[in-house]
């Protein structure tokens, strides 16, 4: 290790940024849970469906029936405790585990920002965010620490930087830059908005949004790091995310990013925010104790650094796993998730399953809606791994109903970024015998076009 790195790892900074981040994210997750509940999505997404698309290796994670409500309650409670800094470490662990469990219950609800929240939750478990402006330190003043190693705050900044940069890299492809797809489809659909509406129908606006979006994602973390550009950069963060919130149905994502980007602000700024909060809540002003840095034991520190290092190595590599697959990523979606590919595709599909009795050869067609929710069917029809999972469910379902040795075929039709739909998977392949694993899926039919770029 170089001198510079060693010196960097020994640097200290005020604990305030971790504290405000903890409070803000805790409250945001709490709000998300309340919103999710209020919209009736718990029942709609996790109680009503008869079948759930689990993740590879996490087949044991399933909704808990009526206890799913308790799971959400627990998650919301942990988020609140994290915000308060009460039983911080356990609350953070509870938040990370319950939120991640919820996200793993059904693939069809996968969202990049849920994944982001899970990762933040994981970082919060290991970072010392409960040592300052926290109920824990009020109960146990000995735990109070006003300074933390620099790298603990920088870990959050690095995560944000990865999210933005990888989202930007993912936009460097011909559909996005050369054809302004899919914004060219999405923007005119919003032309009834006041003020900007009339502009959104213009093709050049779709190009401008595409190019600015790519440039913004690739560069904004650096502008946020730089002291002089920071205020302007944060202004664009707000404008950009407010715009996406107005234009697209992406739920809490814009707010999560707007709040999380505050981590780039200097410690003094966070300290001022906390001061204002203290006055608002009529708490005693910042303790006049002498600054007390958090000093880790040698082994703990080593372990933390290695753990964080491992997390970030995975984060840096995971989005590139798609390179291990031979064909067009947008078409096959092999290695698509968990890679910060946000708002990249207008992809739609329709699939008709056919179940054939292996003994009699009698065929019947399946009404997907009898087994799946609207969201599940929509998500499944364009994602090969989910098609296989549903085919296996159908195989077992019909086997129970007396069909001998059921063979399952799918006639799928998918359109991507304005290309006319075409056959998606080989309709002669018996999906009941195909296994869903990480190997390339040869039964996905060719894309018959090319998208160049990353």
């Amino acid at each position: 290790m170089g001198q510079g790195l060693r010196r960097y790892l020994q640097g200290y900074t005020a604990a305030a940024p971790l504290a405000t981040f903890r409070v803000a994210i805790g409250l945001l997750v709490l709000a998300s849970v309340v919103r999710f509940w209020a919209k009736g999505w718990i029942a709609e997404l996790y109680l009503k469906p008869k079948f759930f698309f689990s993740y590879y290796g996490f087949e044991w994670v399933r909704p808990l029936g009526p206890y799913t409500y308790a799971l959400f309650l627990f998650c919301g409670l942990c988020a609140l405790l994290v915000a308060l800094g009460y039983w911080y470490r356990s609350a953070a662990a509870g938040l990370f585990l319950s939120f991640t469990y919820i996200e793993l219950m059904d693939k069809s609800t996968y969202l990049n920002h849920y994944y982001f929240v899970s990762l933040v939750g994981l970082l919060l478990v290991v970072l010392p965010a409960g040592r300052y402006f926290a109920l824990d330190t009020w109960r146990h003043p000995a735990r109070w620490r006003s300074e933390v190693p620099r790298w603990t705050v920088d870990a959050l900044r690095l995560l944000m930087g990865i999210v933005y940069c990888y989202a930007g890299l993912a936009k460097l492809n011909s559909d996005w830059l050369v054809h302004a797809m899919p914004l060219r489809i999405w923007l005119p659909a919003k032309n009834d908005l006041s003020f900007i509406g009339p502009l959104l129908g213009q093709v050049w606006v779709a190009y401008a949004f595409s190019w600015f979006g790519a440039f913004y994602d690739l560069t904004v973390p650096f502008f946020l790091l730089n002291r002089r550009t920071r205020p302007w950069a944060y202004l664009t963060v707000v404008v950009f995310h407010v715009l996406t919130a107005v234009l697209f149905p992406i739920g809490m994502f814009p707010y999560v990013m707007m709040v999380a980007a505050l981590i780039f602000f200097p410690a003094e700024w966070h300290e001022r925010v906390l001061q204002r909060l203290r006055r608002l809540l009529r708490l005693s002003p910042a303790s006049h104790q002498a600054p007390r840095p958090l000093v880790y034991g040698r082994a703990t520190r080593q372990l933390l650094l290695i753990g964080l290092g491992a997390i970030f190595v995975v984060q840096l590599l995971l989005p590139f796993r798609y390179l291990l697959y031979p064909r067009e990523l947008f078409w096959t979606e092999e290695g698509y998730r968990f890679s910060w590919r946000v708002m990249l595709m207008e992809k739609m599909g329709q699939v008709q399953f056919k179940v054939v009795d292996g003994a009699t050869g009698r065929a019947r067609l399946v009404n997907n809606y009898e087994h799946l929710s609207v969201l599940q069917e929509k998500m499944m029809s364009t994602q090969p791994d989910m098609l296989v999972q549903f085919a296996h469910y159908l195989r077992d379902y019909y086997a129970r109903r007396g069909v001998r040795n059921p063979k399952v075929y799918a006639d799928a039709y998918v359109s991507l970024n304005g290309r006319l739909g075409k056959s998606f998977i080989d309709p002669t392949v018996d999906l009941a015998r195909v296994t869903d694993d990480w190997r390339p899926k040869p039964w996905i039919l060719p894309f018959d076009d090319e998208i160049t770029g990353l």
Binding site: W41, N191, I250, R364, K378, G418
Partner: protein
Amino acid sequence: MKKSVLFAFALLLAALGIISCGKDGNGDTPGPDAAVDRKALLTQWADSLVKPGYQRFNDKLAVLKAKTTAFTAAPTPATLVDARQAWQAAYVEWQKVELFEFGPAEQVSLRNHFNIYPADAAGINRNITAGTYDFELATAIPQQGFPALDYLLNGVAAGDAAIAQQYASSANHRRYLTDVVAKMDQTFGTVYSQWNGSYRDTFVGNTGTDASSSLSRVINAYSLYFERYLRAGKVGIPAGTMTGTPRPEKIEAYYLKGALPLQLATTAHATVQQFFNGRPGRPSLKSYLDALGAKDSRTNQPLTGIINAQFGVSAQQLSSLGPDLYATMTARNADAVASYNEMQKAVRLIKVDMTSALGITVTYVDNDGD
């Protein structure tokens, strides 16, 4: 470092300029977006399709009510034939409005009260004998509407004289027939009056593209109708595509048979086509898609041309199933299956390619772009 970022930005801008100019040169830009006007489209649908369509259907329903009243007042073969003709005319007219299952129609589940078949003849007979029934029950769905009338006017006995005699001799039969028509009249009445009341403005004013917008609801209703009630209901299920065995007794207007079932299906198909194309010079899905510049980016063919070509093939294959759809289902089952398959191709163009090009949202759940 800052300089190089500025340089990169300038480079991006320059490239953007070059690309957008190049695109203009190719004539790649969609036409003037004056026609990408959802309010005009919704207004056209409300004032020139839904409301006039409902009005014409309302007239036919009034005739049906008058003729069935005349028949129950004096059940003879002559009044029966009159009632049956009024039923046929109303049934055909219904095909032109069944696809409007959004807004008020969706609220009262109009289709459930009007056209879920095959009719539950045993249930209808039980109701007649019992003399009490509740048309709002889920089990009562196939015991009312046009399919129930099909059974009541064509299937309760063999031959017109016997049918008339059945009604002459049974007050319960007369009452059931009256009640079925009265329920249709009442249910449709609420939908019709809402469209003539405040709902029209609500519909036209909801110009967004989210899952609760008028456009999204119309497109959902339209593609659902085409897929489930035309493709599967009228052809696929009786042809046995779902189960592997032809089930001709599941066709629409099964008790009358003859030319009517195919006439109903072709009327429905023509309605789907007309809804797409509208009238020349007026806003329609076609003009809206053309204004968006929707095309297959692999071949640059306009999407509307591709859809209309498939509509044509599908309509032709469907009309070849005559003259008697019931007989065709077994005698020329392969033709019926082929018709289903051609409709399926059109369904995909509507459900996938058109919906995608429109940029409408089909679910209420958060989505970050697939």
